[in-house]
């Protein structure tokens, strides 16, 4: 065995991604024939992963009320300046955590009244999701037409967010008759056949409202109001999964539409 000696510190640096590409390649060649070094490197890497896994829930669980309030104060001030950028996603995730904290606080007190649009969104979800032959009025193949049509009828810029990264495919959408006006519903489906609906309606009378969660039997919905548009994302999903999706929708639709601003 002629390989050069490898120090323990070097193994740590290797696992932690501190080596340059050439040092890395050299070290990999050197330890390839040394099971004990390989083993140690694997253990260090395993230890890192174990730490990340063990504390992962802290990145998604609701903030406790006092931190939620502090975060809300921080965000409120700058809310209007958001752009579609990575920072906005982080802030949106945080807003979701804050909203969850707010819900957490409200539990012991009294639940805030649910807005009327939520009932509309939930009933439209319940009616159209089980539909086998006609789940949507216009299919995703005609997405451009669908979006233009709904935008015109709803009277506000309506878009179908892209949830492909999370495994959800747009299957299409429909116009809803809702409390005497037009509202829109987009429907998505995942590989397992589960369905998700996104409801949108124009609500000039409502101020911006952070995420809230509602549960009806076996399905749940996150709903919010942003610049006079009400949104509700509903599905038979685990609350965390639904929150991640709502966060993504919020981040995508909160962005200014090109050409508008």
């Amino acid at each position: 065995m002629s390989g050069r000696r490898v120090g323990e510190a070097e193994l740590h640096a290797y696992v932690d991604g501190e080596l340059t590409a050439s040092d890395r390649a050299e070290l990999e060649a050197a330890i390839a024939t040394r099971p004990e070094d390989l083993h140690l490197a694997r253990e260090i890497s395993d230890l890192n992963q174990r730490l990340v896994d063990h504390y992962a829930h802290l990145l998604v669980e609701p903030l406790p009320p006092r931190l939620g309030l502090l975060a809300q104060r921080l965000i409120r001030r700058s809310r209007r300046r958001w752009r579609w950028q990575p920072g906005a996603v982080a802030a949106a995730v945080l807003l979701a955590l804050v909203a969850a904290a707010a819900g957490y606080m409200a539990r012991g007190l009294q639940a805030p009244p649910e807005p009327a649009f939520l009932a509309s969104a939930l009933s439209a979800h319940r009616v159209f999701v089980p539909e086998v032959r006609h789940p949507v009025e216009v299919g995703a193949a005609e997405e451009t037409h669908l979006v233009q049509w709904l935008t015109r009828r709803v009277g506000a810029e309506v878009r179908a967010p892209d949830l492909a990264d999370q495994g959800w495919k747009l299957i299409g959408g429909r116009l809803l008759a809702d409390r005497g006006q037009a509202a829109a519903q987009f429907m998505y489906q995942d590989g397992g056949g589960r369905r998700l609906t996104l409801y949108l309606s124009k609500e000039p009378g409502l101020g911006d409202a952070a995420f809230r969660f509602a549960e009806r039997g076996d399905f749940g919905a996150f709903y919010w109001v942003d610049r006079s548009l009400a949104y509700a994302l509903a599905g038979r999903l685990d609350r965390n999964e639904l929150m991640q999706l709502a966060t993504s929708v919020y981040a995508q639709l909160g962005a200014p539409v090109s050409g508008r601003g």
């Binding site: 140690l40 230890l47 931190l67």
Partner: protein, 170 residues
Amino acid sequence: MTSRREAVAAEIPRLRRYARALLGDSSEADDLIQDTLERALARLDQWREGDNPRKWLFSILHNLYVDALRRTSRRPPHVGLDNLGVEHSAPAADGVSDLDRALTLLSDEQREVVLLVGLEGLSYAETAEVLAIPIGTVMSRLARGRDRLRTLLDYGRDADAERASLRRVR
């Protein structure tokens, strides 16, 4: 100013994860985060927009943590190496996991480095900056801290056996 506030707010979950791992207690960790955020807000103009807010916030957190350690004599129980086996074999009946327990048995300095690098993914240079120590010190604390953690978590066992058998073969 507003986007600085936004950037600070966006770091809260990560700060909280780190503080929890560092202190092993959720209410103490949240106290530390609250103090960190308040201090950060008071000194917002010290942080240049465009700079990484994470590093800056972790430094503030570190300084407050060190102050708190100095003020209170609340330190994790120090267990000699000889006692480790006994300590470790106690079942985690109180819901505290082996990993939480093992972390409390590291020195404060080792724990910080192990978590900043392993959990938070900071580079050695960033870790050195956050803790205001030389990179060499980061590396030695890291190696010692991880060694100890591996022992506490019974990692070393297979590797040692393997090494012994290799030696015999040679």
